[in-house]
């Protein structure tokens, strides 16, 4: 089983549209994982059935029992996150600021503070309309630990792929370079970086590629909207050549991406043959590279 992760550094480059297209092309050869748990959108194109659903618990939060509290103020003094406030003659925890470290609960002289487990989101395993399995999740608004939820999505997808003898896990990663992306990349066999020819796109591609290199994963690249700025497309091409990144294709700026999203379809199902061929060809190249690596 090979794990292919689609990332972008910068948001809005077409990452999810392309990940969903690969999901469409791989059919029942792959388990699909939506690791962009902060803003998971893949389900909008794949119409999953949410057949299996469970709560995801992660992290804790402090609660002060006012009956027991003696107002000594030690918790507020020790909290590094300014999460404990006093109002009138009461101390209370600000949930948004509480990191769940439990320091206050440990040092409270009268044990007035307890830690409660937090429901940080929901986790799903679904069949999609194209009959593959999608592992996805929804982070509770403002919750922490999205990296851990990503890790759970990936682990579950990997287990399913092993059990059902699938060839691939295809994961839609998250934007940025921080904890959710690091979680998305760990254990991957092959990375597809989706970029666009803007100064931001190039800047973010270079940063996210530095992260990919730390993981020592083979990388490939698709330049979306390549005709928006031919000069920067050239600079991206130079960059990926100098780093020996596999160049998969350049896709022209096209309304077909928005139209497909609006119709709830992948870009392969919208009757635009030029783009369809580019993506089909890219998928063949990905398969070849992923499988070559093992030889």
């Amino acid at each position: 089983m090979k794990e292919i992760v689609v990332i972008s550094g910068k948001g809005g480059t077409g990452k999810t549209s392309l990940a969903a297209s690969l999901a469409f092309l791989s059919g029942d050869e792959a388990i699909i994982a939506d690791c962009d748990v902060d803003a998971a959108d893949m389900h909008l194109l794949l119409s999953p059935d949410f057949a299996h659903k469970e709560d995801f618990f992660s992290g804790q939060q402090a609660i002060i029992d006012k009956q027991v509290c003696t107002l000594c103020g030690l918790c507020m003094e020790k909290c590094r996150f300014n999460a404990i406030e006093t109002k009138g003659s009461e101390y209370f925890v600000k949930p948004i600021d509480c990191e769940g470290c439990g320091y206050c609960a440990r040092i409270c002289p009268v044990e007035a503070i307890s830690m409660t487990d937090q429901c940080a989101g929901e986790f799903y395993i679904s069949k999609t309309r194209i009959n593959n399995t999608l592992v996805h999740a929804r982070l509770a608004p403002g919750a922490e630990n999205s990296g851990k939820l990503v890790a759970k999505v990936k682990k579950e997808a990997r287990n399913l792929a092993e059990e059902e003898n699938k060839k691939y896990v295809i994961a839609d990663g998250s934007p940025g370079i921080g904890c959710p992306v690091i979680s998305s990349l760990s254990g991957a066999d092959f990375v597809l970086m989706v970029t666009e020819p803007s100064l931001s796109g190039l800047h973010d591609l270079k940063r996210v590629y530095q992260l990919v290199r730390k993981f020592d994963i083979n990388a490939s690249c698709i330049i979306n909207k390549y005709d928006i700025n031919p000069e920067i497309t050239g600079r991206i091409m130079d960059f990926i050549q100098s780093e020996s990144i596999v160049h998969l294709c350049n896709i022209p700026y096209s309304k077909v991406f928005t139209e497909a999203i609006t119709a709830g379809l992948t870009v392969l199902e919208n009757g635009h043959t030029e783009i369809e061929e580019l993506i089909r060809d890219a998928w063949e190249k990905i398969k070849k590279n992923v499988n070559d690596k093992n030889k």
Partner: protein, 282 residues
């Protein structure tokens, strides 16, 4: 006046709006533009200004002092983040898991885990006329962006004058980094686009703002593409759309070159006029 520009979905135009709005308002006001997307900061590509200050930013983590340690294991027990491992003859600290709560350090009976500085990124401050631009870059491989966002906001408070307008270009998403970036703002603008992705992620961002009890308004970018569902959702939920910026390949091309659009495209400037009217006190 602190205005945070945020969105659930990436690539909806936060940076485009933040940089153009900053430049547009700077003809009359002192502006501080801050890029809080410390993982992938891009605002700096659009602002031509000279660097006047740079500082390495650190977070605090425990450092083990072998001579003083008795391997009692309290440090490991009190760490809620599994950042400390007591091997019996060695204490391992995992900096990337550490949340800098100080529990291990302060509860160690022998003081064998004093806190020490660990580099997490670099903050830079640029200035050009009325525009102050502040950005921080998270070091590659660092997992937690929140402490760097927090320190960047502290720096902004230290340079902020009473009459300054602060524009915060926030990170995408709906989790801790966005909350850190928006929680102290006087006004939150959620940027979205009129597609099912835009709508879905807008709803998440709205939920996040309601969770932290923040008022917000919406700007619809790339107006004219997709469908009318975002408008209908906002109307149905009494959410105010303060401006709709028409879809334009020309704006995308200017963006790609790192150029501002408000001084070149009339439609875009008119949208900023409407956003300005919605800012209290303007």
């Amino acid at each position: 006046m602190k205005i945070a520009i945020a969105s659930g979905k990436g690539g909806t135009g936060k940076t485009t709006l933040a940089t153009n709005l900053a430049a547009y308002l700077s003809d009359k006001r002192d502006i501080i533009l801050a890029d809080l997307d410390v993982e992938e900061p891009n605002s700096g590509l659009f602002i031509r200004a000279g660097k006047i200050f740079e500082e390495i930013k650190y977070k605090m983590i425990p450092g083990w002092v072998e001579e003083d340690c008795t391997f009692c294991g309290i440090c490991q027990n009190v760490c809620n983040f599994n950042a400390i491992l007591n091997l019996g003859n060695q204490i391992l600290v995992y900096p990337e898991l550490c949340h800098s709560c100080y529990a291990c350090s302060e509860l160690c009976p022998k003081g064998a885990l004093p806190m020490k500085h660990q580099r997490m990124g670099v903050l830079s401050h640029y200035r050009n006329g009325n525009i102050n631009f502040v950005e921080s870059h998270l070091d590659i491989g660092q997992e937690q962006s929140v402490p760097l966002i927090e320190q960047t906001l502290k720096y902004i408070d230290s340079i902020c004058r009473k009459d300054s307008i602060v524009i915060l270009d926030s990170p995408p998403g709906t989790s801790c980094p966005v909350i850190e970036a928006t929680k102290d703002a006087d006004m939150v603008i959620l940027v979205t686009e009129p597609t099912p992705f835009g709508l879905h992620d807008l709803k998440l961002a709205v939920e996040t703002m309601m969770t932290i009890g923040k008022d917000f308004v919406v700007v619809v970018n790339r107006y004219g593409t997709g469908n009318a569902d975002v408008e209908e959702y906002c109307r149905g939920n009494n959410i105010r759309i303060i401006a709709s910026i028409p879809d334009s390949r020309q704006v995308a091309e200017l963006y790609s070159r790192g150029e501002l659009a408000y001084d070149k495209i009339d439609d875009f400037r008119r949208s900023l006029d409407r956003i300005k009217e919605a800012i209290p006190g303007n």
